[in-house]
Symmetry: C2
Subunit: 325 residues, 2 copies
């Protein structure tokens, strides 16, 4: 059943060995006050504590490590306004090769600084999909660099699947795992890892109501696009890819939607009660759990916190004194 | 050498077994960006992820577990405006006995709510040391409850020492451990554990410049009082106790002072770069490390983050957009 997919368990296990020295085996932590609130036993897999503050470090390291010498010599290129940009810049720096990171001119300065922190000066483009792709294509044509897609790339997907491999080792007897879904790289990697190792564990994806394209894609049986792009969970505003969709469609046990206010509230809860700094995208699984308490009551739930790169202004707004959510 | 102290290694090891089911074995995490900033390899022992958000859960559980049946039937009493209040309320609730928590009327509502969260209605007193002690004495006389001091109590100290036992298991080849010092319960427990197991590991205490009583006590050879009570590190404004002082005096390798601005900056760094929600007291060790980089350059440093109970207003002020430290 799993054989027609872009990745299999062996690819994820190989990725885990390949990137072991370049990523952090992040801890799985409990938050007793949130257990009380949810009525379930939650095991938070803390990818906010990963290099570059997000799981994206894993897929980028695996993709860069998979290049042969000749490919590596020409470098890598991607376009990203988010965590994949810093992840690929870091992965390339670790191998000592060039990275070309195409970013929209209006990217958050904290994201631009993160890329510069790994010694890469971003290549700026206009803030639209056409300019991003055209600029990346141009860089690739000029330099011969290999394009590394943020999620629709088998090596990236295999790298992201290592999160679930670790979670299954670190927390036993899980009944269910909840994963955020944007482009589906983390979700597809998780599904292949979990369903290969223990298919009785349910895997739910969590998605913002305002970016419910994966939810609609499961219904229609084809890749649907987001209809709006303004969810606070900025990492999840992306449609599924051609490589991630078939895995999600066949293996996911359900897609749970979270409202914007539930996402904001879950972000605040994780920060103030869980003592974990998370970005709103990383709080979407908890938001979905708290909106669907009956589904999780009394169960042991693995919750993947995908990242912690929250802007100080957002942090103060969501976890400070004034908010009422 | 260690034999004249209120606790020994065996007491700490026994405490660890006794409280194993009541406390969290908190993770030790890395923060690569902070390693770069410090020039050292830092291993953060995350007691901010402990029950009640601080290491105080350990000592309180051990003290309550050590009561015999007759003592337990009469309950426990303490005075505290901080984490020990919630810790003792929780420990008593777990054993099913009464806890009397004397708190100043002007205690932070978040601290009062934490105590109420464990089913205990605080006994309020006037906000001064005399009223606190008198009210606690009155409750003890009326109820027969056992007074559990927040640090000057051998069972409490032994419980706090379990933090270091775990840290030594979780992070190997440490050169030095840095611990915050207030009343000295955590510091004394750490010193006895570490110096008994591996005396070559240095243990430094970290203390606010504005609450430098332990620093002065080491110089004068007797317990000195704080001269001001306005450090942002509100958990560390306390003088050493008669049981903690001899241990600290004999075993500590040094006391490092941290300025208020260094404490604020370290709090911000741990939140925004480390993705860990800490209270200012818990950031004092990192502040001391960053103020004394030459002492730690190239070494492997265990850093005990004592707690994460930061008020939302403080969180927003210290980690939000407006601060310039």
């Amino acid at each position: 059943m799993l054989n027609n997919f872009a990745i299999d368990l062996a690819a994820i296990q190989t990725a885990a060995t390949r990137i072991a020295n370049q990523v952090i085996k992040t801890p799985v932590v409990s938050a007793p006050l949130i257990d009380v609130e949810s009525g379930a036993e939650l095991f938070f897999k803390c990818e906010n504590l990963q290099h570059i503050g997000a799981f994206k470090a894993r897929g980028a390291c695996n993709a860069v490590a998979c290049l042969d010498e000749q490919q590596a010599a020409a470098g890598v290129v991607t376009h990203s306004s988010g965590n994949h940009a810093a992840a690929l810049a870091r992965a390339a720096a670790l191998r000592g090769i060039a990275a070309h990171i195409v970013m929209p001119r209006n990217s958050a300065s904290v994201k631009i600084d993160a890329v510069r922190g790994y010694g890469v000066e971003p290549t700026f483009c206009e803030p639209n999909a056409e300019s991003r792709q055209a600029t990346a294509d141009e860089v690739a044509a000029k330099t011969g660099a290999t394009f590394v897609h943020p999620f629709n790339n088998a090596n990236v997907m295999a790298g992201q699947g290592t999160v679930a491999l670790e979670l299954l080792q670190q927390a036993d007897r899980l009944d269910v795992i909840v994963v955020p879904v944007g482009g589906g790289g983390l979700l597809a990697g998780t599904l292949v890892a979990v369903k290969s190792i223990n298919p009785r564990i349910k895997v739910y994806a969590a998605e913002p109501e305002w970016a419910d394209d994966a939810f609609r894609s499961m219904k229609s049986g084809k890749i649907e696009s987001p209809e709006r792009y303004d969810s606070i969970a900025d990492g999840l505003r992306t449609p599924l890819g051609t490589l991630t969709f078939p895995i999600v469609h066949q293996l996911v046990d359900g897609i749970l939607l979270a409202s914007e206010s539930a996402i904001e509230s879950a972000t605040r809860t994780l920060i103030l009660r869980g003592k974990l700094v998370v970005e709103p995208s990383g709080a979407v699984p908890l938001a979905a759990i708290l909106q669907n308490r009956n589904l999780f009551s009394g169960t042991r739930v693995g919750v993947i916190i995908s990242g912690g790169n929250i802007d100080p202004t957002e942090l103060a707004r969501l976890a400070g004194p004034a908010i009422s959510v």
